[in-house]
Each structure stands twice: as structure tokens, then as C-alpha cells.
């Protein structure tokens, strides 16, 4: 093990009271429950893991085909297939507790009450460090986008979750709105401790040969490098509109991508689709950040947050 030199830059961040050793978090839905990648990745090297969206009851998810690669992107319509909060607590969380990594539970409900119930159940369990409220899934009929695209509904979900938990509450925002800052401000006023963005952009892909959509669900959420410019723009806008920390994501593949998000105003970042092509993406991004800071003689990662010069 290499000794920590005096010049090693500080990567630790504090997001609304949740301390993480670095600002790199794996995004919900792209890293399973952590265990799927444990044999590839040293989970202790990550700042945090956001687990696959959890609902009160297990969810089947959407019928296949669920995914389609498009130029620079991945369309998915998984539809929040998950084991449900009880099985998560019994079977998945004990594994994650063995690691020194922040565990953020992404939660989903079909009603306000359900969001609150899921939040309540997770808050009672040791080993969950924050909640990320999913009001932005484009692939489910109830909940998801119908809450996240409406400032009043998004605020109400936030209030109900806040009332049900003592954990820091992050609200994950959808880009599928006219003005994302309206939603960001609404959830901030309702008590959100942080906002994370962006979730996927609704899109579709067509098979010309059969003249059918590639996805059984017809539409899906687009992620991957194709959406990075949109995500950067939205992170920048939101960072200027709210006082709470912003967690940026959308197409991050490299440390440079991640640092761009931080310059735009994100205090931390999430790495999603990149995990699929390189399970070590998040770990390599942490290393790349460290090198960048060293090279530019920046002592603390916080110094670059929101430094965009326009």
C-alpha cells in the first residue's frame, strides 16, 4: 500500500450530512444491489452505491425486449423490476453492510403513502445511509414520471418521505420536463436535502424491417454518452437555482466527464451506463480525479465545484 503523500488531494465530500470518501457513486439500476459487481470491483473504493429502485412489493418489471443500444446510448424499459423492500433488507443489505461504502436506497411508490411506507421501512434498518426518491422513471404506468413532472406532486412526495424518515433525502429529477429548475425548487422547498439529476430521457427505437418498436414497452429511457450534453446543461441550471447539493449524472464515462459535471455545479456524481461496459468505471474515475487534482495542484475537490466561467 502506497503511503499517503502530503500532496494527495482530498476527495471526501459531505452531501447533506452524508460523508463519503469520494464523490463517485454508482447510479440506481446500473449496479444491481452491489453484489453483482463485487467480484469485479472493490466496493470499498466507491463513494457510494445507489441500489436498484425499491418498491413496497416485489415488481415483475416490463416484458422483454427491454433494452436496445442506439448511437452512443442505451434505451431501457426495465420497469423497476426489483425484489421489494422486505427482501432487500433481508437478503441484499447484509452483504452491502460488509463494505465501507455509503448505501443509498432508491425508492419508488405508486402512491404518496407507498413512498412513505418504503422510506419508513428502510430508515429502520442499519446500513442505509440516505434515500433517493425516484420520481422520474419513464417506464412505469403509475408513480414515476407522473409525480416527477409535476412540481406539486413532486413536492408532496418529498414532504411525505421526509416525514417518514430521519435519513437524508435526495430527490432524483427527470429531464422530461420543460423547465427542470421549477421541479428542483419545488422539492427543495418541500424539504429535499439534495437533488440528483438527470434520470433517463424518454426515447424510442424502431426496427424498420418489421416496422415495430425495438422495445416491447414501445418507449424507453435513454442513457449513456449520448445524453451527457443535456445532463450537463440541466445540472448547471439546477445548481444555480437551488441551495441544496446537486448530484450530477448522465453519460459519465471518464474522470473528465465527471469533473465537467462538478465544474457545472455538482457536488458529487453518479456513474451509470458506463458500469455495463466497464465494471471498473467508477473506480477508474476516482483515480482519474485524483490525478487531475494533483496535476492542477488543487488540494480539495470542493474547490472545483461550480467554477464554470460563463
Amino acid at each position: 500500500m502506497k503511503k499517503k503523500s502530503k500532496t494527495d488531494p482530498a476527495l471526501a465530500v459531505d452531501i447533506a450530512g452524508l460523508k463519503m470518501k469520494n464523490p463517485v457513486i454508482t447510479a440506481s439500476g446500473t449496479f444491481g444491489y452491489g453484489e453483482e459487481y463485487a467480484e469485479y470491483v472493490n466496493l470499498n473504493q466507491l463513494g457510494g452505491i445507489v441500489v436498484k429502485g425499491l418498491s413496497l412489493k416485489p415488481r415483475l418489471g416490463n416484458p422483454p425486449p427491454r433494452i436496445m443500444e442506439t448511437t452512443g446510448g442505451l434505451l431501457n424499459a426495465v420497469g423497476l423490476q426489483n425484489v421489494g423492500v422486505a427482501a432487500f433488507l433481508a437478503e441484499k443489505l447484509p452483504f452491502l453492510r460488509r463494505y465501507d461504502v455509503a448505501v443509498i436506497a432508491n425508492i419508488y411508490g405508486e402512491s404518496y403513502a407507498e413512498y412513505a411506507r418504503v422510506a419508513e421501512k428502510l430508515s429502520a434498518a442499519p446500513g442505509v445511509h440516505a434515500l433517493e426518491v425516484n420520481v422520474s422513471c419513464p417506464n412505469v404506468k403509475q408513480g414515476g414520471l407522473s409525480f416527477g413532472a409535476n412540481p406539486k406532486a413532486a413536492a408532496e412526495v418529498t414532504r411525505r418521505v421526509k416525514a417518514a424518515t430521519d435519513l437524508p433525502v435526495w430527490v432524483k429529477l427527470t429531464p422530461n420536463v420543460t423547465d427542470i429548475t421549477v421541479i428542483a425548487r419545488a422539492v427543495e422547498q418541500a424539504g429535499a436535502d439534495a437533488v440528483s439529476l438527470i434520470n433517463t430521457l424518454t426515447g424510442m427505437a424502431i426496427d424498420l424491417r418489421t416496422r415495430r418498436p425495438h422495445l416491447k414497452n414501445v418507449t424507453g429511457g435513454l442513457s449513456g454518452p449520448a445524453i451527457k450534453p443535456v445532463a450537463l446543461r440541466m445540472v448547471w441550471q439546477v445548481a444555480q437555482s437551488v441551495a441544496v447539493p446537486v448530484i450530477g449524472m448522465g453519460g459519465i464515462l471518464t474522470a473528465e466527464d465527471a469533473l465537467e459535471f462538478m465544474v457545472a455545479g455538482a457536488k458529487a456524481v453518479q456513474v451509470g451506463t458506463a458500469n455495463f461496459i466497464n465494471p471498473l468505471a467508477a473506480e477508474e474515475i476516482v483515480q482519474g480525479m485524483r490525478l487531475y487534482l494533483k496535476h492542477h495542484k488543487i488540494k480539495n475537490i470542493a474547490e472545483i465545484v461550480g467554477t464554470l466561467q460563463v
Partner: protein, 276 residues
């Protein structure tokens, strides 16, 4: 040594051979570090061109052969060009580097108690079954005439892997849709004709092929048969994290559930699959 090289199951491989063995069918040999785990027949690898960003997802390809040496391991992938990703793989020249993870997924479970071994392959489905045939020969000392392979394809030029298969199996029934070689019939038709010879108690069936083939097989066999099938789906992660590649199955309590082809499969019991 880079971090990447230290991670388990992720390798940088070097293409040592990549040639078109039949129109649109390629055989790629990849040289990997010796620690590449011995694959089970039916397992697959996720492979992508090192550093390439479009397409950026890896492609799942089943393992056709594997030779392990003291210094390195060579795997062979027999694949069909089906789209942009596989077309780019087909263009790789010897010396090209690929990022590869594996072996992934479940393999076929060999039931040694069964007297008859029957394999049914459609098109490129021959790839994992060829590895199975060789493993059966090697590990359970099955004679070349103790197994029967039903092999089907669109046309003669799409009958890939047949010559190599003849070296380890002497009972091969060939079918083509257009009758250019063997019987002019779907492979499942030829199998159906012989089905009365195979009673469930002493027959193990292994299949891999396009979904319509697997589906018609499901229509032929009752639940008493031991039949394992390997499925193909579009995949993103290959390790069970994204839930993108699911198939509908009956779970232990008889309810519908979606299982991940990459991590819970690609080999499934045929009787568990739900056809919707």
C-alpha cells in the same frame, strides 16, 4: 500492472485469428491470460473492441472452444454477424485488442444417468452445443455414436460448425429450410419423427437455437423430459445488474417471473419457460 488487469474476470485479449468460415459466420480466436477460468459448455463472454465508444456495449457470444495452456488460454468464438456490433467484431484483424469478461452465466448440466444424449441446434446455436459435445466425449467418455445431434439451418452455407462436429459425433441429422443439404424440413420436424425412440426416463436433451425453434420444441416435449436450452437475448451488462435481458419463466411456486438470461441463464430448463 493496470487496475483493469488485476480485476477478476475482466481481460484484455488479443485476436489471433478471425475469419469468415461461411458467409456472415466468423470464427474468432482470442488469446487470454492463463487465469481465464475453464468455461462450462453454455457459458458465454462479453466482448467489445478495446476503447471503442460506438457501439459501446459489449456483445454476448457463447464459447465455442477453449484451450488452456501454461502461459495463456485461447478461446474460440463462432458467431454470426447480426448487426453493427458483430460486424465491427468481424472486421478485427489478428493483433487487435478486445476487452472481454467471462466466462459468464450458467452452463448446461450434464445428467450422467441418461443413456441417450440428444442435441438440437439451430443455426449459430451450434456454437455452445459443439463445446458440450466435446466435453461429453472427454468427461463422461461418451462414444462418438452415443450422442445424436439434430442440426438445422436456413441453407447449406449457413450450416456452420458441421465439419468440426463430425470429428466428435457420428450421428448427425442435418436439416435445411431449402433442402440444399440434408432433409428439407425444420430441425424440430426431424426430431419429432424420432421422438418416440427417446423415452423421458433415459434421455437428456440439450438445445440452442432461435426462439421459434425452442418454442416448437417446447410444444413437442412434455414436462417429463429433461431438456435444457440456451437462450439468446440482447444484453447490456452481462452480469445480472441491469435486468435488461430477461425471459419469462414459471418460478418455484408456479408464478410468472422474469429471469435474467445473463446471470440466471443462459441455460434454462425448457419446462420452466413461459411462452406468451
Amino acid at each position: 500492472m493496470t487496475e483493469k488487469a488485476m480485476a477478476r474476470n475482466i481481460y484484455l485479449g488479443e485476436v489471433s485469428r478471425n475469419e469468415e468460415v461461411r458467409p456472415d459466420f466468423f470464427l474468432m480466436k482470442i488469446r487470454l491470460p492463463a487465469q481465464f477460468e475453464r468455461p462450462l459448455p453454455g457459458q458465454f463472454v462479453m466482448v467489445r473492441v478495446a476503447g471503442l465508444q460506438d457501439p459501446f456495449l459489449s456483445r454476448p457470444l457463447s464459447i465455442y472452444a477453449c484451450k488452456q495452456g501454461p502461459r495463456f488460454c485461447t478461446i474460440e468464438l463462432l458467431y454470426r454477424v447480426a448487426g453493427k456490433g458483430t460486424r465491427i467484431l468481424a472486421g478485427l484483424i489478428p493483433g487487435s485488442q478486445v476487452e472481454l469478461s467471462g466466462p459468464l452465466g450458467t452452463g448446461y448440466r450434464v445428467d450422467r444417468t441418461k443413456k441417450n444424449i440428444v442435441l438440437i441446434a439451430g443455426g449459430i446455436g451450434i456454437a455452445p452445443l459443439s463445446l458440450l459435445v466435446r466435453e461429453l466425449r472427454r468427461r463422461s467418455c461418451r462414444a462418438a455414436d452415443a450422442m445424436t445431434v439434430y442440426l438445422g439451418a436456413r441453407t447449406e452455407t449457413a450450416l456452420v460448425g458441421l465439419d468440426a462436429l463430425r470429428q466428435s459425433c457420428s450421428r448427425i441429422i442435418v436439416c435445411t429450410d431449402d433442402g440444399t443439404l440434408g432433409e428439407k424440413a425444420p430441425v424440430t420436424k426431424a426430431f419429432q419423427r424420432d421422438l418416440p425412440k427417446y423415452n423421458p426416463a433415459d434421455t437428456a436433451l440439450y438445445a440452442c437455437g432461435p426462439k421459434p425453434m425452442i418454442r416448437s420444441l417446447a410444444g413437442l416435449l412434455n414436462d417429463q423430459y429433461f431438456c435444457q436450452v440456451s437462450l439468446e437475448e440482447r444484453m447490456a451488462c452481462g452480469v445480472g445488474a441491469c435486468a435488461g435481458c430477461v425471459v419469462a419463466v414459471k418460478d418455484a411456486s408456479g408464478n410468472k417471473a422474469y429471469r435474467r438470461v445473463c446471470a440466471d441463464g443462459p441455460v434454462f430448463e425448457l419446462k420452466d419457460i413461459l411462452w406468451e
